[in-house]
Symmetry: C2
Subunit: 348 residues, 2 copies
Amino acid sequence: MSMSKYIMLHHGAGAREMWNIIEALIISKVPTKLRKLPRGAGIDVLDDGAVIPISDNEYLVLSVDSYTVNPIFFPGGNIGHLAVNGTINDLVVMGAEPKAFMDTIIVEEGFPLSDLEIIINSMLKALKNEGIALIGGDFKVMPKGSIDKVVITGVGIGITDKPIIDKDIKPGDKIIVTSPIAEHGAAILAAQLGLLDEVKNLRSDSRPLSRTLLPLIKKYKKYVHAARDPTRGGIAAVLNEWVRSSNFSITIHRDKVPIREDVKAFLEAMGIDPLSMASEGSAVLAVDGVVAEEFVKELRSRGEDYATIIGEVTKPDSEILRGRVLAITEIGGKIILEPKSVNLPRIC
Amino acid sequence: MSMSKYIMLHHGAGAREMWNIIEALIISKVPTKLRKLPRGAGIDVLDDGAVIPISDNEYLVLSVDSYTVNPIFFPGGNIGHLAVNGTINDLVVMGAEPKAFMDTIIVEEGFPLSDLEIIINSMLKALKNEGIALIGGDFKVMPKGSIDKVVITGVGIGITDKPIIDKDIKPGDKIIVTSPIAEHGAAILAAQLGLLDEVKNLRSDSRPLSRTLLPLIKKYKKYVHAARDPTRGGIAAVLNEWVRSSNFSITIHRDKVPIREDVKAFLEAMGIDPLSMASEGSAVLAVDGVVAEEFVKELRSRGEDYATIIGEVTKPDSEILRGRVLAITEIGGKIILEPKSVNLPRIC
């Protein structure tokens, strides 16, 4: 693997360059037995959270993410709102009930206290709505110029009797997307480009999935073989990670992927594939074909009106498709869907 | 409480201004029942970690801290080394055996990969030395100019059958300091001032306390009423937090506080009280008078040659001392020791 001598933006973009650097600098250097706790899951699987068994049939799920989004206030939310919802969703897609939260807030000297208060109030409201306890944290101030405004780290603590660890996909599983994709990424991109006045209908989908999706993941737990919230890198990154180390392939139909017209038009104009763009209120799942239709129906009855099966896990019919994602285009073409580093830093 | 309209450096300095802002913006707004998990400890006590009961006699202890130290390489360590050791020590002073670690690394675009590698290798070595598993993390890149080099957040996961929650101090408890104080703060200050060439013997004490202190905390667990690693704000901040909401007082003898001559001379020249300066390899404890001497003796036999009793918890003999710390000076004077905001950002 060749690497630049300096950290570049694509090293943090959620696609192959990021996994390569994490593998080279970190994972490959950790002894196998220190990659997880006994019977748990850690960096041995690249999932949204770590799993710690706490009794014969109970697991603690822990997640950690740093939120660096720019701008910190955006249509549909703010960095505090995003940090809590993003953390909740990381637990939900692991099959865990969110129970507690810890945070660190790093603020730039000179930052307006009133803005910090809005951000913190958003966090506390999002926690309170879900009955999640705030059990610890850290607060640091950095001198002016050494950090841009605010960075928040969220630690999520959840409980489950059956963690969904994304290593069990198998042929026949249907790929489900729960709601229109790329909403968050499109809104942040428009904000960064100063285009919010022109493209008024873009709005982050930042929201918790604990009410709509979690009950179904719990109900169908033995049929849910993988679940992820497609943030950095979008669903292209998630699907590629799922097949990367397997013998299978995933085929999706682009015209089935739920996406709002406004979002699609804006991203097309920008030359960005929505499949590589971040969502913050959507999930992608691999669900056993036996129950997938039912799963989607129930998602819709819970208010996820755009939940859809977009494809399935297959045994590849040619060697080139093994461990890869095949996208059938709107006009019937077949294209290998690669994970892409969209050059859009500070998206989450 | 009056507050500035903008975040200022002292809001992050570990003393009263910081606790005031955290109380005003966060703690006071969280409903009481969401300040901890049932039977656990959370933001209802201001301690180094949160406590989650996982069985009748086992508790998980979780800590989170963001490390923003500047410079990132300093005599005695680097930001990665500090993030792991600081996290370990937060667990140790809660009485917990460190078991697992998660991190987030935020790097500035353009940062040299070779430096990042040194930092990460230090982290991994520190974890490996203690047999601590790395079970998760996050990696973000921020554009040049939006973060100064590297910020690391450490999440510690430990186990204990008896968490040390700092709310049980009582008269007769002896205050023990385990090793010379203010070493880390002095080294960072000298580095920030560009004085490392002149004051050569300053060196951070960043190191894990899991070998020397933890076995004794476990052995004497029912006698250890409080324990803390005095980082931001130093032992002045810790002792004040301990008595702040109690009816007691703490009396310490300044001449008994272990401190190296080099460190003392440098800080005196800078006009800074070492009692307000950060350590990263020392701890302060309130231990029942019945076993305190023995505790110190055993600490010394384990290599903590400078472990010392510096004072004790008392029933205040005048109202003015209630909830305050009294320092007997080297010449016998009596001074109220206030927590001070040393104007030294990015110390940890």
